[in-house]
Amino acid sequence: MTGNSVSPRRKIQALCVSVNYADFLECIAPNVKHFDRWLVVTEESDTRTQEVCRRWGMEVLFSKRLHENGAVFHKAAALNEGLEELDQDAWVVVLDSDILLSHDFRERLELQTLDPLCLYGLSGRRICRTLPEFRSLAASEPWVDNLIHTTFVIGYFNLFHLSVELNRYPEHGSDDASTYDVLFSNRFPAARRRFLPFVCLHAGDSSHNWRGRVTDPFFENHDHAHAPAIASQAEVIAARLGGPGKAAVQISCYRGGTGKTLARHFDKVTVIDHWGLLARAPTPAMETDRQFLAARYAEETSGLQNLTPPLEHSSETLAAIPDASLDVIWLAPEPDYDFLLLFLPAWLLKLKPGGAIVGAFYDPEMLPGPSRVVQFLLGVPDEIHSDMHWVKRIAEPAKFLAERLPAPAPDARRGVVYVCMEEAEVEALLVSLSSLRRHWHGAVCVLSAGDESASLLLACSRLGVDFRNVPKFSLMLPDDINRLHALDWSPFEESVFLDAATLVSGPVDFLFDALETQPNAFCPGPASGTLQVSEAAFAWRRSSKVLDTLGAMAGTMFPFTGDQAMPFAVGVLLKDGLLYLLPSAPVWSGPAKRAPSGTVIQSFPLLARAGALHLFPPWAEEEQALLRQLAGA
């Protein structure tokens, strides 16, 4: 028992099972400071785990029941062996041996009101798949981005009091680590399963080792786990960009360190409260924690005259900052597409010509997600530092913004609509879009049905195309019917639908022209032999009831005809004269070389594959250039 530097009001013990997990246990060993004692259940043969425990002052218990009755990895039994050894009048944190808690976990936990009858979990975790990612995040709290939340208190972190009735894990149900935690959580009434307002880091990928360790070592040499952190370059960058008369804005505040650094080099630093240090938190537990964090920040930055108090990140705050008044925008949070798409239009115009955006978390190899977002929206940074800070100078912010994020055409009466149902369609859609733009200069809207496609949103933002994330009508209906329902969300009075897997080789105005005399116009691919929406192009007026009728008919037929529901519905509407079939056939869905003359829209199910591009040699280079541009290369 060692490592505890806190004077606790509560006695808090820790328990984990670690078998062939010494690499992960090494990474999370700094948790030891939070606990009055930490018991690790392992096996006698696992000498590496024992070595880690000895170095960090954890207690060791050899399990006798881990493989009881031939069990593969009976984690519940092993945990119960450990629980028997702990003090029964105290709290216990049962955590997985790959979970790193916040540096100030114990201090903040002491402020929370805990009910001994409850089971507590954490409100989220960040999966760190590589050691460099884990190390970089371990050194830079708060961890607020890319968290995984669960609706249940699950086993990576359980806090409960050992004096209560429900103080042992159920051992029936499975002989591995897959379900014991859910069964345990279920034994607590719903009102007694609660979440603490803290999050953690998860070293390595999750959900792979339920039947014992199968994943590769997290690192080869344990020295790697605690190698000295790479020195922050913030001071160097601030010194170079700052100077007399210079002004900066600091987006987000948590600890006082960044503010102190900026205050040394800039005459004025406006601090923006990105993480909600000021804002009333929605629940009492969060509010308690917020007050602690706010008070700590205030204390750490007291006396810095050129640092403003944290300001709300609101339209009023933005309006009070003149355009072209800032030399530097210092962005602390992890770059995230959803936030940056709001942030850049709001803040770029505040930057002086030649001003700089400074950020963190840039390393294309280690953190590909945030790095790609920066590349895509801002371009490759001018400076990339070893601690993952980056600097992008913007010569002409207004021009840069107009080029990078052009505004979609406002309130167009007619336009072309695409529907994207899944990520696999994105590339095809972008190729189709590029072909359309040669022949159609009006408005385009992309409807992303279901989960928002980040890559499509970013691409549409860069291209000035209206993007709308709309609901997927029913999880039980096939894509063709859901695609039809998505079209209800078209913003245009007169719309033309094109499928993602089509190339446009001529003007599509003929479809709009048909609406001068008809409420709708349907144009199927003649070679397909079917009437699938995905192999057709069609136009409709908003006042037309054709989508509603077609969708209802197809949905009604689905239980009886399955995937043929849509062709059936189209056939019925044609027969009833509710659907106007264009007499000519400018849509072709057969082999390209057999396309009749006059073909305008060609359907290629495999358009996303590179081969499709080579069907049209004169276009290939242009399409590829567009894709390169979209990728930010």
Partner: protein
């Protein structure tokens, strides 16, 4: 700023829009929500305060804070959250809407149906498919989505149809060729596909109707209607009586008591004991 991200089908989207707009107007925040198809007033701008951060997200059948997994109630709903709030949930609780009926009726104004209901129409909704919201993770384990037996049962419906005076029976169903519809053939019903907007718009003009409370589009049609008699099936076990049988089950496995839907309307025209 309150941002609405829609999920599920038509009736779900009405809850989501109204919940977002109510919060935005109450808090003086800007509303960011796509206008709902067929409801032109939902394209109205709702101006107000705009926050770029901090970020909060509420989801769930009731409003739950995504980060804490706890219900948001009382003061948390009434006092403005100085944050960017993204709503990505269902919000199927009448308590959120009951005091705002007049405003909601205006927001959800729509063109009158081509063929409104006759005075002596009796509209009966017969569903074989579970609502989208029942897919909410954590609430309904063990019930995979599937086509199942209709709600309410044909036996109960037959008794009701015999009792309620009408000259024309209109069956709104997602299974017009199902055996339940055939069983009701002696009543010579007119059959309409229930998933269309036209059917919904017709339903809200009916004076007498039978609906499933758990299907949000039916609930909305009934609540927004001027119907005099609404025969309702409320499948949740906290209620006194349920006509919900068969593969639907009658309740929520392991559902948190406050997190589940509560669309039980305490108006005299809503008749549950039939």
């Amino acid at each position: 700023m309150v941002e609405v991200r829609y999920r599920g089908s038509f009736g779900d989207n009405l809850f989501q829009y109204c919940f977002g707009r109510l919060l935005a107007e109450r808090w003086g925040h800007e509303l960011s929500a796509l206008p709902l198809p067929h409801f032109p007033c939902t394209a109205e701008k709702v101006p107000g305060r705009r926050f770029l951060s901090p970020f909060h997200s509420w989801s769930g059948i009731a409003a739950e804070d995504l980060q804490l997994g706890t219900l948001v109630r009382g003061r948390e709903l009434t006092e403005p959250l100085h944050a960017r709030l993204v709503l990505y949930g269902w919000f199927h609780r009448w308590e959120y809407y009951r005091s705002h009926e007049a405003a909601i009726r205006r927001w959800l104004t729509t063109a009158p149906p081509d063929t409104p209901a006759g005075d002596n129409d009796f509209a009966v909704c017969l569903r074989t498919r579970r609502p989208e919201s029942w897919h909410e993770p954590g609430l309904h384990p063990g019930y995979p989505p599937k086509w199942g037996r209709p709600v309410p049962s044909v036996e109960n419906l037959t008794r009701l149809i015999e009792r309620v005076p009408h000259t024309r029976l209109v069956l709104l169903t997602d299974s017009p060729m199902g055996e339940e519809v055939m069983d009701l053939a002696p009543f010579k019903p007119v059959v309409m596909p229930i998933e269309s907007f036209a059917a919904w718009n017709y339903l809200r003009t009916c004076r007498r109707m039978a609906v499933n409370v758990c299907h949000p589009s039916e609930w909305w049609a009934a609540w927004l209607s001027d119907a005099e008699e609404i025969y309702a099936v409320d499948p949740w076990p906290a209620r006194k009586q349920s006509h919900c049988q068969g593969s639907y089950g009658c309740g929520w496995l392991d559902g948190r008591p406050l997190a589940r839907p509560d669309l039980h309307v305490t108006e005299p025209r809503w008749i549950y004991d039939w």
